[in-house]
Subunit: 344 residues, 2 copies
C-alpha cells in the first residue's frame, strides 16, 4: 500500500487536473478497497425477502459514483490505517446514502435517478420507503458488528441531521423569502452531514487523535456544501445525460435553491412576479422553464452560486493542511476541485 | 420498589382479571418509570426544525397504549433492575415503533390512526417519511448514549426484521394463495420482532444471564404474534371507537390476514369468486364489506383466528415460568390474557 501517509512522498506536487480524471484517479488508488466495499454492499443488502435485494440492486448497483464511501476509504488510508474495518464502514455510509435517496425520490416524486427510472417509479413508493428502512437498519447492524460506539455516534447523529435537513427543505419549499443562510442550513443537513461523517469515520477507524478527526470532518462538511451548491447549479445548466436526472426537476418542484434565490433577488418587478407564480404558487406552463433558465443566466446566478461553491471548496482543501503530502491527499484535493468544476 | 423479583412474594396468585384492567394494573405498577419514559420521549423528539416535534407529537403524544415501552420497563424491573437506563431504552423502543407507524400509514395510505386523523393525512406523506427517519435515527442516538453494543445489536436486528416483514406483507398483498406460515412470517416480522426486542432488552439492561434474555425474547415473540392475530381479527369485528382505526381497512387494502385466508379456504365456489374479486382484483363496491363480514362470521374465521392467538398467548405465558412469582410477572401474564381477550 503506497498511498498511506508517509514523509518520503515527493514535496513537489504536479499541477492539478480538474475534471473527471480526479475521481478516476482516486478510484484507482483505492481499487482493492472499493472492490471489497462493493462486495460487502452486495453481500449485506441480501435478504430472504427477495424484493429487497432486487430493489436495492436497482439503485445501489446502478453505478452511482460511490463518492461518500470513497471518502471513508480515502480518509482512513490517508490516516495510515492498514486494516479492513473501513471497508464495512464505507458500506454503511453507502447504505445510509441509498436509504435517503430512496426516501427522497418518494418525497420528490422523482421519476429519474442517475439517468435511469427511479426505484419508486419501477417498484412503487411503498417498497421504496420500506427498503430504505431496511438499508438504514442494516447499516446500523454493520456498525454494531464493527463494534465502535464512536463510529455509531457519528453516523447516528449524521442520520438525524440528514432527516432534519430534509424536513427543513420541505418547510422552505416554494418560499422565495428563504434567507440564503437557511438554504445553507438545508444543504448542510441533507448533504454535507453525511460527507462530514464519512470523512470523520476514516480518522476514527485509524485511531488518530481528535484533531485529525475534526480536520477531516471540516473537510467533509465544506466539500459536501460545495458539492450540493454545484448540484443545484447543474439543475439549471446541465443536459440530462450529464446530470443523470430530469433537467429542471428543482424548478418544477418549486425547490428553493441558491440559483433561484439569487435570480429572484436580482429580478425586476415583472420577473419577480414570474418567480412568485412559478415557484411560490407552483403554477407552471411549458415555456416557463426556458424563461427561468434565461432569467438565471441574465442574473449570473450560476456564476455567483459557483463562486460560493469555490469558497467552500477552498475551505475544504485548507482543512487537509495538517496532513502530510501523500498521493491520497493530493487525490482528495483534486476531487474537491473536480466537485466544483463539473459545470461546463 | 416493591415490584422487583423477590422470593418473599406470596405464592398464591389471585385469579386473573382479563380485560383492560390488566393494562391499567401494569401501568400503575410502573407509574414512575412510565412518566420518566414519556418525559424522555417528549424531550428527545425535539429539534430546531419545529415541524419535527409538531408531527411527532401528533402521533407520539396522541395516547397510544405505550405497550412496547411498558414491556421493556416491566421486563427490566421483573429482572431486578434498580437503575434508570431502561427508561431511555424504552423510549428508543417507542421511537422505533412510532417511526414504523409513520411509514406504515404512508404505505397503507391510512387516514386514521388511533381514532384520529393520521399524520400523513394532516402533514402529508413527505413529512411523515422524513420524521419517521428522524425518530429512527434519534432512537439509535439514544442507544449510543446508553452505550451497550448488545442492546444496539438487538434493536438494529429488530429494525431490519420489521422492514423485511413489511416488505413481505407488500409482496403477499392481494394474494389469496398465501400459506398461513407465510402470513405468520409477515406478522412475526412486522409486529412480533419489536415485542421480542423490547422484552429481551429488559434482561440485558438488568445484566441477567443469556437464558433469561432468551426466555423474555420468547415471551415477547409469542405475545407479539398473538397481539397481531387479534388485531387482524378486530379489523373484521370491532366498531371504529374501539378499534381506533377505520373498520374494514385491511379489507379495502386487500391485505392478507388470517381471517380472510380462513374464510377463503372455507368458501364455496361462488364465495371464493367474491374473495378473488374483492381481495385479489381489489374491485370493491359499497356492500362488499358487509358480505365479507358475513362470510367471515359464517366460516368461524374469527373464532379460529382467536384460537391461534390463544395458543401463542399460552406459549408466551409459559416462557415466564423461569421467573419468580412477583407482582410484575403476574401483571405481564394478565396483559397477555388481555391481549387475546380484546375481541368481544
Amino acid at each position: 500500500m503506497d498511498v498511506v501517509a508517509s514523509s518520503s512522498q515527493p514535496s513537489t506536487v504536479p499541477p492539478q487536473r480538474p475534471g473527471e480524471d480526479a475521481l478516476t484517479s482516486l478510484i484507482s488508488l483505492l481499487q482493492g478497497d472499493l472492490e471489497a466495499c462493493n462486495h460487502t454492499i452486495v453481500a449485506r443488502m441480501d435478504s430472504p425477502v427477495t424484493l429487497i435485494p432486487q430493489l436495492a440492486a436497482h439503485i445501489v448497483a446502478a453505478g452511482g459514483k460511490r463518492l461518500r464511501p470513497l471518502l471513508t476509504l480515502a480518509c482512513a488510508r490517508m490516516c495510515g490505517y492498514q486494516g479492513q474495518r473501513h471497508v464495512k464502514l464505507a458500506a454503511c455510509v453507502e447504505f445510509i446514502h441509498t436509504a435517503t435517496l430512496l426516501h427522497d425520490d418518494v418525497v420528490d416524486e422523482s421519476l429519474l435517478r442517475r439517468g435511469m427510472a427511479s426505484a419508486n417509479a419501477v417498484f412503487g413508493n411503498q417498497a421504496s420507503v420500506l427498503v430504505g428502512d431496511f438499508l438504514f437498519a442494516r447499516a446500523f447492524q454493520l456498525m454494531v458488528e464493527d463494534g465502535s460506539l464512536t463510529v455509531l455516534g457519528i453516523l447516528s447523529r449524521a442520520a438525524a441531521t440528514i432527516a432534519e435537513g430534509e424536513v427543513l427543505q420541505l418547510v422552505t419549499q416554494n418560499d422565495l423569502s428563504t434567507p440564503e443562510a437557511r438554504y445553507l442550513d438545508v444543504i448542510t443537513g441533507k448533504t454535507a452531514a453525511l460527507f462530514t461523517a464519512a470523512c470523520e469515520v476514516g480518522a476514527v477507524v485509524a485511531d488518530r487523535p481528535q484533531s485529525d478527526a475534526s480536520a477531516l470532518a471540516e473537510f467533509g462538511l465544506n466539500l459536501g456544501i460545495a458539492f450540493q451548491l454545484v448540484d443545484d447549479a447543474l439543475d439549471y445548466t446541465a443536459d440530462q445525460a450529464v446530470l443523470g436526472k430530469t433537467v429542471g426537476d428543482d424548478f418544477r418542484e418549486g425547490k428553493i435553491t441558491l440559483p433561484v434565490l439569487l435570480a429572484y433577488q436580482a429580478a425586476n418587478t415583472a420577473d419577480q412576479g414570474f418567480w412568485r407564480r412559478t415557484i411560490e404558487a407552483n403554477e407552471q406552463n411549458e415555456s416557463d422553464l426556458d424563461r427561468a433558465l434565461d432569467l438565471i443566466a441574465r442574473s449570473n446566478a450560476i456564476g455567483l452560486t459557483l463562486d460560493r461553491a469555490r469558497g467552500f471548496a477552498a475551505k475544504a482543501k485548507g482543512a487537509l493542511d495538517p496532513f502530510p503530502e501523500t498521493t491520497l491527499r493530493r487525490a482528495l484535493l483534486e476531487v474537491t476541485d473536480y466537485t466544483v468544476n463539473r459545470v461546463r
